[in-house]
């Protein structure tokens, strides 16, 4: 049901080979935060070589929770339906959606692929937000990934990822909107729960 647009991005962050990276002077710059997350994910992934997708998702969750502002991302993905959810439902939606994204990433993880990423300096989007372009080379492919980031406790957190012009938040908002219009917030949460059940039942 879901299109996994996050996967190339997360793979781009994670995949196994630290690439030529132009580090900026400031340690807490958006690029530094992205690079640190990349290093952490590589370390976690290497230490967990061969584990199942579910286990990998559990191990990488702390790193990804630090990198992504999942609440902001979920709010953007749900769009107008967010206001219709109660506070409890919003919490539930964040938990479910983040789990969906992390599991999606883990299920596509490939320990043997190599990746090169080159970050460009951040572009100011206004309102304290920035956008970092990451030119990602994965096998024979050059993929343009934009990380949209906002200030967070640890410096910067990603609130949307745009891969080759396709926004993660926009992609999910389009899907969630049609579900919400048909069945409301409950239907949205049910859909997410079913998606997680399906991914849990998939053979490793």
């Amino acid at each position: 049901m879901f299109r996994h647009t996050l996967l190339p991005t997360l793979s781009a962050l994670v995949v196994f080979h630290a690439a030529p990276f132009q580090l900026q002077a400031k340690p807490a710059s958006p690029q530094a935060v992205l690079d640190q997350a990349l290093q952490d994910l590589i370390r976690v992934a290497e230490a967990s070589r061969g584990v199942s997708a579910i286990q990998l998702s559990q191990k990488t969750r702390p790193v990804l929770e630090k990198l992504f502002n999942f609440e902001s991302l979920t709010k953007r993905a749900v769009g107008q339906g967010w206001r219709e959810l109660s506070a409890d439902q919003q919490k539930q939606a964040v938990a479910l959606f983040s789990e969906i994204l992390i599991r999606s990433y883990a299920s596509r993880f490939d320990w043997d692929s190599k990746l090169e990423i080159q970050f460009s300096p951040p572009v100011d989007l206004g309102g304290g937000r920035v956008e970092v372009l990451a030119m990602t080379r994965y096998g024979n492919n050059n993929v343009k990934v934009l990380y949209r980031m906002e200030p967070a406790a640890n410096g910067w957190a990603v609130y949307d990822v745009v891969i080759e012009g396709v926004s993660l938040a926009a992609n999910y908002r389009a899907q969630f909107d049609s579900i919400r219009q048909r069945g409301g917030g409950e239907a949205l949460l049910k859909l997410m729960q079913e998606n997680l059940k399906q991914s849990a039942n998939k053979p490793a």
């Binding site: 709010k75 953007r76 749900v78 769009g79 107008q80 339906g81 967010w82 206001r83 490939d110 692929s113 572009v123 989007l125 206004g126 309102g127 937000r129 956008e131 994965y138 096998g139 024979n140 492919n141 050059n142 993929v143 934009l146 949209r148 949307d160 745009v162 080759e164 012009g165 396709v166 926004s167 938040a169 926009a170 908002r173 389009a174 909107d177």
Partner: protein, 163 residues
Amino acid sequence: MNSQAMERAVGLFVLGGVACLSYFAFQLGSANFRTSETYTVEARFTSAVGLNSGAQVLIAGVPVGTVGKMKLGKDFSALVELRVLKNLQLPTDTLASIRGRGLLGDKYVALTPGAEDKTLTQGDRITDTESAVDIESLISRFAFGSVQPEKNEKSEKKPAPKE
């Protein structure tokens, strides 16, 4: 009818034709929102290829505005002026996406309202955007990228057929 009257009639006919053509071009170009009934916001796109001034701005397929001036930003992004109806309260996290009517159709801007309580006002900028997708480039990337991993996967999971 003398020749002078005939020339006048032909002239009037041509002028009428030009007036009709102008009217239809104006209507079909969707420039049917008066400045007084719209406000302007700016959307920043990495690329606005294929989008033209006068193109439609839609929400759920319903026209709510038009594309105004387009200019190049300092970081070489495309800054696109969107003139939308004054009565529209668009949340600040509204998404603007450049979409096309089919592969070869005209481009338009699709707005998807978000969840923020604050709304956009005259001169605000939409930064949550999706640029026009370069289909040719995507197709070539998928063509290059999808072959090898799948081949490896199959060769690992499926035993070679016995002869």
